[in-house]
Amino acid sequence: MTRLRIFLFRLSALVRSRQMDRQIDDEISSHLAEATEEYVQQGLSPEEARWAAQRSFGGVTQTKEVYRHVRSFMWLEELSRDVRYALRTLRKSPAFTTTAAATLALAIATNTAMFSVLNAVLLRPLPYRAPEQLAMLWTEDPTQNLREGRSSLWDVEQWRGQSQTFADMATFDTVSTVLTGDDGVEQIIGVSISPNLFPLLGVQPFLGRSFSTQDAEQRQRVVMISHRFWQARLGGSSDALGATLVINGFPSQIIGILPADFQVARVEADVWEPHTTHRSVRGGQTWFVVGRLRPSVTFDQAQAEMSAVARRVNDQLPAVERNQGITVVPLSLYVVGPQSRLALWMLGGAVFCVFLIAAANVTSLSLARSTGRAREMAVRAALGANAGRIVRQLLTESVLLAAIAGVMGTLLAFGGIRLIRAFGPGNLPRLNEVSLDLRVLGWALAMSLLAGILVGLAPAMTTMRRDLRPTGEEGGRSVSGGTSSRRIRRALVVAEFALAIVLLVGAGLLVRSWWYVNDIDPGFVPERVLVMEISTPTTFSDPAQRTDLYHRVLEQIQAVPGVESAGIIDDLFTSNPREHVLTVERVDGTVSERLRLTRDEVSADFFRTLGTPLLRGRFFSIGDQPEAPRVAIINDAMARRSWPGHDPVGRRFQFGQRDSHSPWYTVVGVVGNMRRQGLEREALPQIFVSLAQNPPSRSVGFFIRTSSDDPLAMAGALRAAVRRVEKNAPIFGVAPLEQQLGTYLTQRRFQTSLLTGFSVVALLMAAVGIYGLIQYSVATRTQEIGLRMAIGAQRGDIFRMMIGEGLTLSLIGVALGLVGASWLGRAGSSLLFGVTASDPLTFTTVSLVLMAVAIAACYFPARRAMTVDPTVALRVT
């Protein structure tokens, strides 16, 4: 109560501070007048009486000072005075202010923008209820190098039944989905989910209801749609609920709309449909599994239990199906994988280094300036300011500077964030969530404060340490301005070089990796190839109809002028191939085994179109008709795995168990490995079968080699060709093959170009830093240089002396930095490709570049030092 009262009192005093100043002045003068009068009455002369009155009163100024302290928030008044003064000083030296503020603003902007990415991608919890309890469950097989393998519904049913640590498990997978609308058919992204998925994630529909178990069991044709689909296609109208969409040829009722921006794990779907979870046979392992842990169960406990469950389930399976483990991975780690995490932390660290270098430069600048202001400080000290007061003044100045920079930086960062959202790597998950939220603003504020303190601390410290008096008497003829501040500035240059080389080494390693990755032969020639995916209309229920359709489309496409050749494969880029049970006639007998491989139907001209080399045997031919013996082409990896050291041509295999009735295939050819999971991943075993002999998928990819360097320009003509054959076949995913391959590299390009950019900035700043130091050193040592020359030093000696100073500092910095770089390189080695973290070429090149830059930066001031005229230098005082 009293506290509040005092606070209010002081607050009002703050507002009326001028008026209150006048009041206390009046009061004191009345006091003195009364006292004088009394002394006069006691018989003193008026003069003596006035002196006596003042003596008994004590110091008038001190009284007022104490009075002001009691009256209001003294620090606030002092602060406002300091700020006003600081603003005046900053305005007086616009060159310093602009340079320093711009440098800091850039550093703060890049840091804030980078932090906004880190914040959205790594720090913000996933948008589900209690996301820390969510986990992905994967089927694993160490013997097959199978990681993040999908699971069958039968498996999941066993797991659910036996697990104590999981409250629930749900399954989902993308399904090929064709939407029939008023203006034709089109491919959309559909996801089939178990009805418990949304309750498990804790997601409530934005409108309508979620799926029920009955929906799934009775195979009701009901769907839920995404918020985006609802807005774009149905105008966001509430009539959408209960409306009907024709999906895969069947009318399906919309029962719910999901909240905006909702995604399941990494899938951005348009429609969701339910599936039953019960299976009596094991079936395909095609499902993603997400589970929710019971409260207070750890991932380790869950993993231990699931490993035991896996062993028990294994026991129920035939031998060939065994050897499967289960891995439990926190959902957040799946959504943003370890590579992306590491890369983002690395970039965050890099941009923080840039910030430190910028702060070091500005510190160095303000140190130089504070040495020049030594006389001002001496005068202030002489007038009664104590060291604390002066330090506070200096800190106010630098914090104010940083605050200006912070505001500019935040505005810049706002622009930067929009750029990142527009041009960032599309396959970086959660990038769409990047925004300038409170946490990001807080970060910008923290960075600004940190900058202010870092920049102000060194000048303040040297001011405190310096004896404030003598400089004023010396009249400026001082020894090159404060040895302690020189020492700090040299240390700053060393630190800048150390940080710069760490960044440069990192960038160098990434650039080298980038070259290696780009040099990889994907196993096909992507230039001038256009990809076009086509779905069959739902009326084509017979596989033979589909085969016929694909062949007719292929004929039409090949007839388009400018098309050199065209081929079909059901899916070229497979991120996560399934396992198959395969029975192979090996050299040493027939064996059944579980293999992780891809199996695709391709047309006869597929390999020729893509330019994949034939290593042995032959390609498919017209003779491989449905009634002819079934033939297959395998890749080199498959050949080496199943028939090591032997010619596989003429050998046979079948899908499924040895005694299953599935047909036997004869290997007729071996082709080179194609990197179909992205450039950086080794090719898996691949089997290709003839499109003519096998029932094809509902949707396939057409690969069209054109004579044009811009294959996309032909898209119109090619679409028309497809439409001539079948106007109800949805066409989608039209893109140049080079571009599709490039998407695998976007994250690497993002990392490499950002880190390179940061390190170039760091390099420039370090150069500016050392240039400034040597420049200043020359300017303050003019007399010394003149003296040295007067007693016989040659111009060359002076030049070497100045260059030597810079070189020593940069050498120390580089040496320290290399140690740090080799240590950090190991931590980030998983981001590299083709080079080791201690790549000698990168380390040497980067060191040489940095030294060259240091010498170049010192060259100009050193030249100036050479031209010092001793007679002039010694005369000037």
């Binding site: 005092i6 206390i24 009364e34 009068e37 009163f57």
Partner: protein, 115 residues
């Protein structure tokens, strides 16, 4: 330091001020200062200036109030008066002082007897 004049004990100045206002009614600053000096028999080296921050503090605590008025010699002065809260505070502090003083007194007596 002169042995016959003691500095005003820190914190006791406030008590002296409210006691003075209690005894004499509303007064301006100079009168309060003179009164304190008189009562102490000029034993206190009161820097009269220190009175003003003390008055401000008391006013912030709500124990005294002030307004502009005229002195006996017709000058415009600020006149301070004890508030109801101030009177209560005075009683509290008087009691506390008495207690403290009597303890110290007893203590000193015992020490004298022992020596």
């Amino acid at each position: 330091m002169t042995p016959d004049k003691s500095d005003v004990l820190y914190g006791t100045l406030g008590l002296m001020v409210i006691k003075t206002l209690d005894a004499l009614g509303p007064l301006h600053g100079y009168r309060i200062a003179r009164r304190i000096e008189q009562i102490s028999g000029n034993q206190l080296a009161l820097n009269q200036g220190t009175l003003y921050p003390a008055l401000l503090k008391l006013e912030q605590m709500g124990w005294i109030s002030s307004k502009w008025g005229t002195s006996e010699s017709g000058r415009r002065v600020r006149i301070y008066a004890l508030t109801r809260a101030g009177r209560k505070q005075l009683h509290n502090e008087e009691a506390q002082w008495q207690r403290a003083a009597s303890i110290v007194e007893r203590f000193l007596k015992i020490s004298e007897n022992l020596s």
